[in-house]
């Protein structure tokens, strides 16, 4: 017999196929001459199958057990482990899975048939899901309602969504085709053709922006071209949903880093700072700019690699090579459009995807474009700032204004001083994330009343997306939430609100009714309701807010322009 008998560890590794090839030979030789060990190995193999069954059952239980739903939706928390979404997907009620299309950091996409309609759909299972708690689930549902309401010929329609066996899922149109970048690489269409295509994409994004939905994760793989060449933008708003889940469920470092890694090339400078609040429609404009740069020049504007710190720095500081140097056909107007879309500072970009689409259209038609090429004064100032120590201070100042100054500054300096250390950066990001969560929780715990003030400011200025963000931080059972809902819905009935609020919040209801009447120009109704608010039992804030509006009414003024 060759060698000593196998120990339990060796047997287990052999049964599980985890023995390195160079060692396996020796073990096999021994097995050939030792019936005892062969028998033990057989037993070990039988055990292994059983072990996998047992482990799956137990892990499902330990995940579902203590954090079950508080009487939520039909197919709520519970079910198997997150590590194998395939078995979960096969349980999505009402669908039959055909095949797996894609498996990525966010989740798995299947081709499936919706049994009720016999329609072929793409079924996306997100890795994060129902274990995130009732609040995250509620956010998910609210967000999905917004996304599902998007109807545009170049946006993939979401038909259905829900939670099954611990995962969020979406069913959307199944687009047979290829991603934008693959198409451009393979078909090599003429320049004008690419621009025309891209304009359609910008129109679709602009449409979503007008409905208060920011994509947040635009990249070539999120734009599919079907067989007749029509582009479809996928995954609107999903980044927000999954991003929030990552924060809420305190997901492990890997998925945070993995999430960043996957999308980092199209991330805007403000996104690299990791401050979710800094993201707005101009973030999407930036990503569109990078995409346009890439599809037109065939190269990436910055070097991006596994070194996150360096990549982030490039995104924030480095000017991309001029597109016209890479492809001569790109004239100065088109170059100006590309570079304006991907300007570092949001305020220097196109202020909406619609403006970008507009300029692309102008270029196609040979009309003058709205964008101006970068002035030399600006370039000098920018250089001066970049190379002085003030840049750090300036950055910290901006960050502090955004509200998370300390952490951002820490992160920024960290990234600067320790450029090589990917791990450090990741840790800093995580620390920042934790700190953000802490701060956000504190803010949340603070008065929803304060949120009402913020909401009002945003709503009155017509910034609905931001107003909705504020609303998202208010618990749905708070009376303030109902008021925001009432303001957002022009058709909501004043008596309905009063009934819902009851006697204890009558003054707040009066205020809500008054404010909306005021915006609609129904001054008499507004005056009446605001006076009722003053006469009721509201807090100081409510009274002074009502008084201020009564005063404005008396002066014959209306609040900020631009009805929402």
């Amino acid at each position: 017999m060759v060698g000593a008998c196998l120990d339990a560890a060796q047997l287990d590794e052999l049964a599980g196929g985890r023995v390195p090839a160079e060692q396996a030979g020796a073990l096999r030789q021994h097995l050939d001459g030792c019936p005892d060990c062969r028998e033990r190995l057989e037993e070990c193999r039988r055990n292994l199958d059983y072990f996998n069954d047992v482990a799956e059952a137990l892990r499902a239980q330990s995940l579902a057990g203590p954090r079950g739903p508080a009487g939520g939706s039909a197919l709520a928390a519970g079910g198997p482990v997150a590590s194998d979404a395939r078995t979960d997907a096969e349980r999505v009620p009402g669908y039959r899975i055909i095949r797996e299309i894609h498996r990525g950091g966010q989740g798995v996409v299947y081709e499936a048939v919706q049994l009720s309609t016999r329609r072929t759909v793409a079924l996306k299972m997100l890795l994060e899901g129902a274990y995130a708690g009732a609040r995250a689930r509620w956010r998910f549902e609210r967000e999905v309602k917004l996304i599902a309401a998007l109807r545009h010929p170049n946006i993939v329609v979401i038909h259905d969504s829900g939670i099954t066996a611990g995962h969020y899922f979406f069913a959307m149109d199944y687009v047979r085709g290829q991603p934008l970048d693959t198409h451009v690489r393979l078909a090599a269409p003429p320049l004008r053709e690419v621009v025309r295509l891209f304009r359609q994409i910008c129109d679709a994004v602009a449409y979503a922006h007008r409905r208060g939905v920011i994509h947040r994760d635009l990249k070539p793989s999120n734009v599919l071209l079907n067989e007749s060449g029509t582009p479809f933008v996928l995954d609107f708003g999903l980044a927000k949903i999954t991003g929030e889940d990552i924060q809420e469920s305190r997901a492990p470092a890997v998925s945070v880093a993995g999430h960043l890694m996957g999308t980092v090339r199209y991330m805007s400078p403000e996104q690299t700072l990791g401050v979710p609040e800094a993201v707005d429609v101009r973030t999407d404009v930036y990503s569109l700019g990078v995409m346009l740069y890439e599809v037109l020049t065939g190269t990436a504007p910055y070097a991006t690699n596994a070194d996150l710190a360096m990549t982030f720095r490039n995104i924030r500081d480095q000017d991309p090579p001029r597109p016209s140097r890479i492809r001569r056909e790109i004239n100065s107007d088109l170059e100006t459009i590309i570079l304006k879309a991907m300007a570092k500072e949001p305020e220097r970009r196109y202020q909406s995807a619609g403006e970008l689409a507009e300029d692309l259209g102008a270029w196609l038609d040979g009309r003058p474009i709205a964008a101006k090429s970068t002035s030399s004064l600006y370039v000098i100032r920018k250089l001066a700032i970049r190379h002085s120590f003030e840049s750090l201070t300036l950055f910290a100042l901006i960050a502090a204004m955004i509200g998370f100054g300390g952490v951002s500054f820490y992160y920024f300096r960290q990234a600067r001083s320790d450029a090589d250390a990917l791990r450090d950066t990741r840790n800093a990001l995580l620390a920042m994330n934790r700190s953000l969560i802490g701060e956000r929780d504190e803010i949340r715990a603070a008065l929803p009343r304060q949120a009402l003030g913020w909401f009002l400011a945003e709503w009155e200025a017509g910034r609905l997306e931001r107003a909705r963000q504020v609303q998202g931080d208010v618990p749905p059972d708070a009376p303030e939430y109902a008021v925001m809902e009432f303001w957002l819905d022009d058709t909501a009935d004043a008596d309905g609100l009063r009934a819902k609020m009851g006697a204890s919040h009558a003054a707040l209801a009066d205020f809500a009714v008054g404010v909306r009447a005021m915006r609609a120009g129904r001054t008499d109704e507004a005056r009446h309701a605001l006076r009722a608010c003053l006469a009721g039992h509201g807090g100081d804030w409510l009274k002074s807010a009502a008084q201020a509006r009564l005063a404005a009414l008396a002066a014959g003024a209306r609040p900020a322009e631009g009805r929402p």
Binding site: D53, A57, A60, P69, G71, S73, L75, A77, T164
Partner: protein, 195 residues
């Protein structure tokens, strides 16, 4: 541990005064039913009620002679009863919600199809058996042995990690795993005959 076969247990149910049999029957299937009902979206309280109703309903039907072993397994029978109870609960909850808020449109308020239901049910059943097996093994092995097994199976740790955490050799970890598994498999064979 295995005190009664299913048949004996069921025969005992014919006698309403036989508390011992009833509580064993209850103890065996109640956690399973609660967990199943939870997966279908009921909250803890409603799930408890649904499980109680289902078991009482089963016992009652059984006493009236409606349960015919030849027609199907107990497992399938319980599934049917449990599903009906859960749907009752869901309907009641929906009605309550509508009465309270006047809003009937839950965004993902859907009842899974039969295929999904029976999958979920099978999973629950399997889990219940695994739990019983673990309960059987627990007093029969060293605490460290069981702990090593749990770390491997539930936490999904590697042999090295478990060894480091428990301060035992890697080989001891895999010995523990093999030991517990052999015990559990043996007991499961017996269980499946009577459940």
């Amino acid at each position: 541990m295995i005190t009664q076969t299913n048949t004996v247990l069921l025969m005992g149910l014919r006698d309403p005064r036989n508390d011992g049999v009833w509580s064993e029957f209850f103890g065996r299937y109640q956690p399973l039913l609660v967990s199943f009902a939870r997966k279908l979206g009921l909250n803890e309280e409603d799930a408890q009620d649904a499980a109680q109703d289902a078991l009482a309903g089963f016992a009652e039907a059984y006493r009236q002679g409606q349960y015919d072993r030849d027609k199907g397994r107990l497992r399938t029978w319980l599934l049917t009863i449990a599903t009906n109870k859960v749907r009752d609960m869901q309907r009641r909850r929906r009605e309550r919600l509508i009465a309270e808020s006047g809003d009937a449109t839950g965004f993902i308020d859907q009842v899974p199809d039969d295929h999904t239901l029976s999958d979920l049910w099978e999973a629950e059943w399997k889990l219940a058996i695994v739990r019983q097996c673990l309960d059987f093994v627990r007093p029969r092995v060293e605490p460290t042995t069981l702990r090593a097994f749990e770390l491997l199976a539930i936490k999904g740790l590697s042999g090295e990690e478990v060894a480091a955490q428990l301060g035992i050799s890697r080989n001891a970890v895999y010995q523990a795993k093999a030991h517990v598994l052999s015990h559990m498999r043996e007991y499961q064979r017996q269980l499946e005959e009577i459940w």
